[in-house]
Symmetry: C2
């Protein structure tokens, strides 16, 4: 308005009607071509595609969703913390979904508060996702969460459960058993544990696996040191562990905490692995490249993401069918932060 000479101007993008007109067919036929329907003469199809190309037509997903009632989108509830490991889970989900022709909508929540989680789920529901993957540990399932997940196919990937959700998980107690047994096999009398926060099912399961393994072998079960997954919590606990002479083996519930522990031990003059062996969980990219390189238990996160999508889509497409929980196995990766007890090379 006013002096504008009206350059380009945002002219309305073409719709199916326009394409249909350009190709000399009905909009319906255009729709059939675009959704890959079978019964269309090759020649007609070609003509339509040409018109699509020429006009630069792009499908309007809002209209498609409204009309068809299917959004071809799945939602993921994620925790907004920079845990390396979780990232791969999301990638696995994205790739698997894309391969199946679905898109992914992510709702991150900054905390595990019931209300924050509700809000995230709510956002997803508003986007009419066809199903949800809960990639967070649900401690307390509020009525509202139950209601939201109840009306939507849901898969949880951390072992927590809501009524009517499927579970895909990494066997965390197995991860803990692998770690603990590895240290016992190296001749350590017992294994100390720096755990994750109690609200995380992963953390609890790892504690269980660790304790069971020790008990099965008749070893003393030392008191647990609590961390919060962060390097700094590992450091804090490391400063404690390093002051206890009898400690020779530590199982940290995450690689990042393991690094913190190692650093603290180092500052206290206790060598890893000669004086104390430390093992983590996750196998982050840096595990191999810090000093010493970290022995850890690798978690197949990406694979788990794929699996979760498979389950979810099956659940979406054949509602009635019940599917049993699935779990994938972690794997021990031995590097340089663990050693046989008393392996001290020189000093002391």
């Amino acid at each position: 308005m006013g002096t504008a000479i009206g350059e380009g101007e945002t002219r309305k993008p073409p719709g199916m009607t326009d394409v249909a007109q350009a190709a000399g067919v009905s909009p319906q036929t255009v729709s059939r071509v675009l959704s890959g329907h079978a019964n269309v003469r090759p020649e007609t199809r070609a003509r339509v595609l040409a018109a699509v190309e020429r006009l630069g037509y792009r499908k309007n997903s809002a209209a498609r969703i409204l009309s068809s009632g299917r959004s071809r989108t799945i939602g993921v509830v994620n925790l907004q913390t920079a845990f390396y490991s979780r990232l791969n889970l999301t990638f696995g989900i994205e790739n698997a979904a894309r391969a199946a022709g679905y898109s992914v909508s992510i709702a991150s929540t900054a905390s595990l508060d019931t209300s924050a989680v509700e809000e995230a789920l709510s956002r997803l529901a508003d986007q009419s996702v066809e199903g949800v993957i809960l990639a967070i540990p649900l401690i307390h399932v509020s009525p509202r969460i139950e209601q939201l997940t109840g009306s939507l196919p849901t898969v949880t990937v951390d072992g927590s459960r809501t009524p009517a959700s499927e579970v895909v998980a990494i066997d965390q107690s197995q991860a803990a058993r692998l770690a603990t047994r590895h240290l016992l096999d190296l001749g350590h009398e017992t294994v100390w544990h720096v755990s994750g926060p109690g609200e995380w099912l992963d953390a609890v399961n790892r504690i269980d696996g660790w304790r069971e393994t020790l008990e099965a072998e008749g070893r003393t079960v030392p008191p647990i040191l609590k961390g919060d997954w962060s390097p700094s919590s590992g450091y804090r606990n490391g400063l404690i562990l390093g002051r206890i002479p009898e400690v020779t083996a530590v199982f940290a519930a995450s690689d990042e905490m393991a690094f913190g522990v190692i650093r603290a031990l180092h500052e206290l003059g206790r060598r890893v692995p000669q004086d104390i062996s430390v093992i983590g969980v996750d196998d982050i990219a840096l595990a191999e490249y810090c000093s010493p390189s970290l022995t850890t238990v690798a978690q197949p996160f990406e694979e788990m993401g794929t699996l979760a999508v498979d389950h979810l889509l099956r659940h979406i497409n054949e509602p009635g069918a019940a599917h049993e929980p699935t779990s994938v196995e972690p794997e021990l990766v031995v590097r340089a932060s663990t050693a046989p007890v008393g392996a001290a090379s020189g000093t002391h």
Copy 2:
């Protein structure tokens, strides 16, 4: 069908019409209440809200988008690699967008291939996003990319440009200058550089900043060692650097590479920081907790995400206005991996 007793059954979710009926008003009034329109009697509003609550009404965003023409969604193109740093960028974007009432749709691409990027942009365009944040380095801007971004408000956050896009960036050459000068200030004769891959503008800018600083001081500019951001590429280059006696200071273009370098030096028996100082860029969470803790240049990624969203929304809401590029400043964080030259404490 068959023996089913017909439990619950998926009855159609309520729509505005249902709510309107229940509240004894017209659908239009319901719409007004829900979109916070002013002219509604408080009593009516209350009645509507009660009905919404009672029926468990949820808005249908597809219908809303179709009808209003606005999706209130912005798209982000991300690279699907587990770089710690980028994660915070996404969080910053998500939070800022949410605060402004927008949702975020993420399209990850596994590579920087033109076709992969086109595909990602295409996916976003199909979701009728109102604008796009390109969080990837665009080397080659294909005609198709130009076309896609041309018709959509776009902000790039790594310094690369498309015609008609805005730029928000961290001043990478400044980051490099900080790092290089820090090492020179410590008395090192010159600084060697392990760079990022040439397709990344960040990497190129860091190289420039590094070179400029050296030249400004009249120092020799050593040959560049090329990495790919990964710890293993740092390690590989570290094995080379460690064999060159004159090397006393290394500037790695990322923390992860820095760790790789340090590990390699360690294996070659060269001590950090006594024999060689190493500095990184990013300030990842582990930087403080590895041994030695890493001196680095911190990048305010989250802030940058917020800024990018601000720009994008302004761009969306007032099309004509041109906004100038903005850049945010990195910050030097001194820890234990750098030391004055010749600071060797004991040995050798």
